[in-house]
Amino acid sequence: MVPLLVVGGFYLFYQFSKETDREMDQELIYDEIRWIKYVQQESAVGGPFVLKTPELLIYPVNALPADYPTIVDSRDFEESLNRKLPYRQLSQVVGVNSIPYQIVIRRSQLQKSVLIANVTRIMAFVFAGLFLITVLFNWLISQRLWKPFRQSLEKIRGAELGKMEAIHFDKTSIEEFNELNAALNSMANKIHGDYLNMKEFTEDAAHEMQTPLAIAHGKMELLLQDTELSDSQATIVMQTNDALKRLSRTNQSLLLLAKIENHQYESAEQINLSQFTRKYLQSFEEIIRDKQIKVETIFDGEFMINLHPLLAESLVSNLVGNAIKYNYTGGKISIQTTDHQFSIGNTSELPPIKQEQLFKRFSKAATAKDGSTGLGLAIVKKIVDTHQLSISYQHSEGMQLFVIQKK
């Protein structure tokens, strides 16, 4: 809009200028014609004619008459006002009674420029006024008109996956927003439906898979009670049992991953990760002692995060467990927490692993250790990803280090 106004202003000024100049030029020419007539009359009586006023010069000159007058703009310094004034000046050499006269007529353009200045100033005010009023009007309308839009936007921002059934987008008086709200309502319903389906699936899957495992496990245990069993037979049975146990754990882990992704572990309270760490270090103290691992902890701050306690347990037990499992005898574990960061490092028998491989499910390095489900770090990563945290992995000087930070 503004460029339009500017172009319009310039065009107006230009046209105005041209018009007034045209008018003035006409008047100068008429003046010239009348003065030529006058000179003709006067010089017919006798003697050359001379007239010199500030606005008018007529005197004989030794030059050839011209066919057309020249009209130019000129600016002359006016002493009384101490500034230059604009003039429009006509000059021509004209032959009167066969004597060449120089005629110079000029007119002040002061009025014109003042007029133009005033007019453009008024136009500027009018345009500015219109502009402001338009802006104000737009703002007022937008407040009222867009209110339902903003309400819907607020609701979308506040939506929680686990509570989608509570969201409802109201009817408004505006057709387009009604369409939007209807679409949002059906989307919210679908999301809620999907969420429930997923929740139901994970619960059913748990039951359907764990129960046969429990049966097989129980039967194996009964079989072991048979005193007629030979050592090699018993070993086979126990190995079968171990495999069943591992299958059960893999199943549980996969379900946990699905549930975390389905946002079934929302938490409204802060937990202290340092506390969970201390708890697991204590739980695992038997094996730490057995492997002669030196554990060094520096709790510089309490790493408080918004996390479901079950997920906190999973997170810590996986990281601490790994630090023990992939350590060598006589190795070292070092844990540090500050208010913004949680880091756990351990001496490791493993070579450095590429970060993309590290957090993938069932990655090779993980399943290499017997009994490992290969899902521990995938669970850690999933928890980190869904709770505004980041995790990084470094391997240097025989130590592997995981650092969790708040985003």
Binding site: E203, A206, Q210, Q225, A234
Partner: protein, 227 residues
């Protein structure tokens, strides 16, 4: 021990496995295969302990628990479930069950827990456990052998109690370890450290004059038996 146990579980194989194991321990076992049958039994008869699966046909095991609480039954209640969810565990304990086990579980674990519950409920935990010359006082967690006190560490006491509760049964290393140290050790490594504890317990018992009841079976299992 002539304690009466009710097993309410719809999977027939699992139900029979549990019944077989517990019967071998000397418990009197009755079973129910669905919600109506289970409900009928708990309302009509008295049991010392009820093992109830949450996911039953035609009803929820939780309602059976609620009913038992409603009629102020003194029976011990263990809930078994395929779901390992924390909310279910807490809810189960909240509505009055005494324990919660996730499938799959070691039958010896279930047995140990039934033992513990019955001891708590029937005898306020004060009943002495006796096996030949070994006596255990569970509330004080002390043992005597031939009436002379013997010092055991906390873990060693738990081992002994578990062995005696599952006497004459073959126990795997993982069953024992999971009972005392929990399920999580799988994340940190293996359970080989339990050998040390069992070895120490064995030595203490024998040094105090008891016979060596802890027998190694099939290389990596144990049986606590007097024959």
């Amino acid at each position: 021990m002539n304690m009466k146990i009710l097993i309410i579980e719809d999977e027939v194989d699992l139900r029979l496995s549990i019944q077989q194991y517990l019967a071998h321990q000397g418990w009197l076992c009755e079973t129910a295969a669905d919600f109506p049958a289970g409900m009928e039994k708990v309302v009509s008869y008295d049991y010392d302990c009820v093992v109830v699966d949450i996911g039953l046909p035609k009803g929820s095991g939780l309602d059976i628990v609620r009913e038992l609480k409603e009629i102020e039954s003194k029976t011990g209640i263990i809930i078994i479930s395929a779901k390992n969810s924390l909310e279910d565990k807490l809810m189960g304990l909240d509505i009055g069950s005494d324990d919660y086990l996730t499938k799959p579980f070691h039958l010896s674990e279930l047995n140990a827990r039934i033992n513990a519950i019955i001891r708590r409920k029937k005898f306020d935990g004060s009943k002495l456990i006796q096996f030949q010359e070994i006596k255990l006082s569970p509330d004080a967690r002390r043992i005597t052998i031939n009436d002379r006190a013997v010092e055991l560490t906390d873990k060693e006491y738990q081992l002994l109690e578990y062995f005696i509760a599952n006497q004459r049964h073959m126990l795997t290393k993982s069953a024992i370890a999971e009972h005392i140290w929990g399920d999580e050790y799988n994340q940190a490594g293996n359970y080989d450290f339990i050998y040390t504890h069992i070895k120490n317990l064995r030595r203490k018992l024998v040094d105090a004059g008891a016979r060596d009841y802890i027998k190694t079976v099939h290389g990596s299992g144990y049986r606590f038996t007097d024959n």
